[in-house]
């Protein structure tokens, strides 16, 4: 009898064969590990939400839903409202995406479709390196270099030429929601580029050849085939970027000006939910003050959750409308 056949026979006849097989193959261990890891994610998310809810009870009891619409934040008389921060977070992250998405998609398309082969690796590496820069560096650079030398003149220019638009009304400040928006748009760029480039690279060449074979130009192929084909992945990239923009703390805190401004103008200083927490949690000496800050955290948590759910639904609808798997 051959060695192989002998081993097989022994394994089959062992009284522990079932147990031994399972352990040897790693099935049990592997399955347990992955299930635990999966559950852990759910658990951590749920626990975070629960803790935020639990620890903001005082503030929730005192202000109720008015917390969301309250425009005042005065620790001295203990009157707390979240609206300026909610507004600042939403305005800066949406405008940041409006700037970053076209640029990021452009870079991704250049890297995956147009750049000469020798340039793709180094350029992609540089963009990803941008993601590795700590945000405090962005904040410092923003505060001392970017804001005075780029943002302020740019804000002045916008105000001079487009000042009739509410979002560009003066007076012009250096640290402002515009500064935060621009910094954020740079910071979310690597996420957008890296994911959407991978989305484009994953599109089968048959799609490109099919389009070009019908007389499409490269531009037509990209806009009419590749972008629709990769749409759900690109939306995923945008959502991740939005999540990052909404949660970004330190860099924004350093350049946004920290002001309870509620005007439409991007040129005014503002505040975000993440920055108010970062700025004041050490000073929150009373229980209500501390819990109001925690409730801000709860609102931020709920907002990101909401955005993600909406995004999932959006991606799911797009994916259902355009099945990307061929059945052939």
């Amino acid at each position: 009898m051959s060695v192989i056949a002998e081993i097989k026979r022994q394994k089959r006849n062992s009284p522990w064969s079932e147990l031994v097989r399972r352990i040897e193959h790693g099935d049990v261990i592997f399955r347990t590990l992955t299930v635990v890891a999966g559950l852990l994610v759910v658990l951590v998310t749920a626990a975070t939400g629960f803790e935020l809810w639990q620890n903001s009870a005082l503030a929730r009891a005192k202000f109720g839903l008015d917390f969301l619409t309250g425009t005042n934040w005065d620790p001295v008389i203990e009157d707390f409202g979240a609206l300026p921060f909610l507004y600042g977070t939403i305005q800066t992250s949406i405008f940041a995406l409006l700037i970053a998405v076209p640029i990021g998609l452009g870079i991704a398309i250049f890297l995956s479709e147009l750049a000469p082969a020798w340039l793709r690796q180094p350029l992609g590496f540089l963009v990803e390196l941008l993601a590795a820069v700590p945000s405090v560096i962005f904040g410092l650079w923003g505060l001392y270099v970017f804001v005075p030398s780029v943002v302020k003149p740019f804000a002045q220019f916008l105000n001079d030429n487009l000042g009739f638009l509410p979002i560009f009304q003066g007076p012009v400040f250096g640290p402002s929601r515009l500064a935060a928006t621009l910094i954020l748009s740079i910071m979310v760029l690597p996420t957008l580029v890296a994911i959407s480039r991978d989305v484009f690279l994953a599109i089968p060449n048959a799609q490109r050849e099919g389009a070009l074979g019908l007389g499409a130009t490269q531009w037509e192929m990209i806009t009419q085939n590749l972008i629709p084909y990769g749409l759900s992945g690109i939306l995923g990239a945008i959502i991740l970027a939005l999540g990052r923009a909404m949660g970004e703390t330190i860099a924004v805190t350093m350049v946004i000006g920290n002001n309870l401004d509620l005007s439409a103008s991007l040129l005014h200083p503002g505040y975000t939910m993440a920055s108010i927490i970062a700025n004041e949690f050490t000073e929150a000496t009373t229980d209500l003050y501390r819990e109001a800050l925690i409730e801000i955290g709860l609102v931020l948590f709920a907002l990101t959750l909401l955005v993600n759910i909406i995004a999932r639904l959006l991606v799911w609808r797009v994916a259902r409308r355009i099945p990307t798997e061929a059945r052939a």
Binding site: Q207, R208, G213, T217
Partner: protein, 280 residues
């Protein structure tokens, strides 16, 4: 003087056939002294070949001999491949498609391609077919509707899909998808149709349908098909080109003739061995 020049540029294939006094239709495409390189590697060596108008020409040969590469040079699909380079000339109605002033997009509108695996776009059947016409600027719904019906009838798919034109092209079976790709291509009314093993991913029933379709299309198009399947070449083609790989791994053309000749009375021993199934 002129006739002297003409004699000089005659490819071997053409002179070989003219010896047999088989009057062929005028060539729609002509490949002259063509060499193809991937970087420094020569993949095709000194290809000379003609594709007669409104005929089906099959390109056969063992794996790796460069059949697909040759086919893809005919609509400049290899332009996409980094470091790919073509030497020599490929003439479409007497015009060199590799001439520096030649617009690659207009070449591809005149030379359509059907790929090995069906590659419908993830769009509706309707949108797949009007893809090309829309690129040409046609927006009129009525015109587009007509194009869709005509093209789908042309690819023998109309009856199967006329009630679900707005469903995804990917929901079709493999054979239907391939016919959708053919409809999509004939919607732009190319003059030459290239088919790269169009049936290799299909079952026998779907294969027969595509082959019937090729015979129908032959009246309006010049068809060039690469196939591994010698029965298929024998069944559908009027002319057959036999390719082999040389010892330096470059593909070369070893025989071109009427299909009947190639399969019944091949001139080259290697062709005979190949078509009789002695290797390949």
């Amino acid at each position: 003087m002129m006739s002297h020049e003409q004699v000089q540029v005659l490819p071997p294939a053409l002179s070989m056939r003219s010896v047999q006094k088989d009057a062929a239709p005028s060539p729609k495409m002509l490949v002259r002294n063509m060499n193809f390189y991937y970087g420094s590697f020569r993949a095709l060596a000194d290809i000379n070949l003609e594709f007669p108008e409104n005929q089906i020409t099959a390109i056969i040969g063992p794996s790796g001999c460069g059949k697909s590469t040759l086919l893809r040079t005919l609509d400049r699909m290899n332009d996409l491949v980094p470091h790919a380079r073509v030497e020599g000339e490929i003439l479409l109605d007497g015009e060199n498609i590799y001439a520096p002033n030649m617009d690659v997009v207009s070449v591809r509108r005149r030379v359509g391609m059907v790929f090995q695996r069906p590659n419908p776009f993830p769009k509706s059947i309707y949108d797949n077919v009007i893809y090309g016409p829309r690129l040409l600027g046609i927006r009129d719904k009525k015109v587009l509707d007509e194009i869709v019906e005509k093209s789908l009838r042309g690819s023998a798919l109309w009856d199967e899909v006329k009630d679900k034109l707005h469903e995804s092209g990917l929901a079709l079976s493999g054979g239907q998808q391939q016919r959708l790709c053919i409809a999509r291509m004939i919607a732009v009314e190319p003059e030459v149709v290239l088919m790269d093993e169009p049936c290799s991913a299909l079952d026998p029933v779907a294969t027969i349908k595509i082959e019937d379709l090729m015979r129908d299309l032959r009246n309006n198009y010049t068809i060039i098909i690469v196939t591994h399947n010698m029965q298929q070449a024998a069944r559908v083609s009027d002319y057959t080109a036999m390719m082999m790989m040389r010892p330096d791994r470059a593909g070369e053309m070893i025989e071109f003739n009427k299909t009947r000749q190639i399969f019944t009375n091949p001139q080259d021993k290697r062709t005979e061995d190949y078509v009789t199934g002695r290797f390949g």
